[in-house]
Symmetry: C3
């Protein structure tokens, strides 16, 4: 039911574990290094497309004040992985985002659905593009008979 090997599955799970740790540590430089030099982040729900590491760093720095004094965590689930070519993977997953403040109180960002294209360069995965869809904006169409 999946086009990729168990090794690739675990490789991808580990890639996201590492990338999400960097993101949640607000380690912008480290996070951006997990993208290709020409990597793209497209927040489709707010029509905001950022291209290249330099632009991603600038955008992330601008967003930092929003995360002052809170610990952010991304909780991902339901990875589906398809081989799109040699060393290219299409990966989709869902993400729940928490914010924990100094008192330990947890609040939530919206939930998201994400479409990534990963490429393997010199044996290492990078995100080439990321398209983020915010949940709740368009009602999914039920195709019930």
């Amino acid at each position: 039911m999946s086009s990729v090997s168990v090794e690739v599955h675990i490789e991808v799970q580990t890639f996201y574990a590492q990338q999400m740790r960097l993101l949640d540590a607000l380690d912008i430089e480290g996070y951006v290094q997990t993208f290709t030099e020409d990597g793209i982040t497209d927040h489709a729900h707010r029509g905001e497309k950022v291209e290249g590491r330099a632009a991603m760093i600038a955008g992330a720095n601008a967003a930092l004040p929003r995360y002052q004094g809170v610990a952010v965590r991304h909780w991902n689930d339901h990875y589906l992985i398809e081989e799109a070519g040699e060393n290219t993977l299409n990966v989709t997953y869902c993400s729940l985002v928490t914010r924990t403040d100094a008192e330990g109180k947890v609040t939530f960002e919206p939930t998201f659905f994400i479409e990534d294209v990963l490429v393997r360069v010199d044996g290492r995965l990078y995100t080439k593009s990321r398209t983020v869809h915010r949940d709740g904006q368009a009602k999914p169409v039920a195709r019930a008979s």
Copy 2:
């Protein structure tokens, strides 16, 4: 510590990623097709047992209004997989269920513990039965000394 191979583990994780996507898209027809023709869903906590795809579709359609205008997501964890026979797997896991509204506000359904029986037919997994237990209704007994 598990009776099944890594290949089966990844096969099962991928099965749930696909099935939960269909469920959360409110794609009732697609979701029901991931069950066997005689598949059973038993919501043990409300004594509601539904047998067969046709009855499952009717029941799901009746529940649809509850999800108008919100995006539902199931977040599963702690899969335990046991081989129960050739091409039959007993799978248990926990599920956290979010509802995200048009403004992006996230609210929560109760948490659940689920017991599934999966069968493999022509190389493809299907749910033969699903028993859903709502958390919080019976206090677990602590067997501490």
Copy 3:
């Protein structure tokens, strides 16, 4: 990107699925048996270090009243696994903790970051030490350029 085999990855995921089930069932005796006899739990954020199974049982029993009438669930993500020696693994992960009451209402503990040392004895994994860091207490330093 990981130093361990896919078999070890699945072994570790299964270990946590089993251990978290025992913890969330408030099965203190069963949970403590997943630690080595001299196992250590260190709640770094409150300077509380508990050493050995007997002390862990006493501590857990003292904490039980806090969980009267609610179902607790730990939701883990982003496991990173490093081989630290023969039959010794360093595992880190994040944990979201829910409490579901009799009415099904879900509330949240703070989120956590956990560092475990696992050892394999007679082919079976045990936690030798667990260090728990509560999120939100120290703001992560952004190393952005």
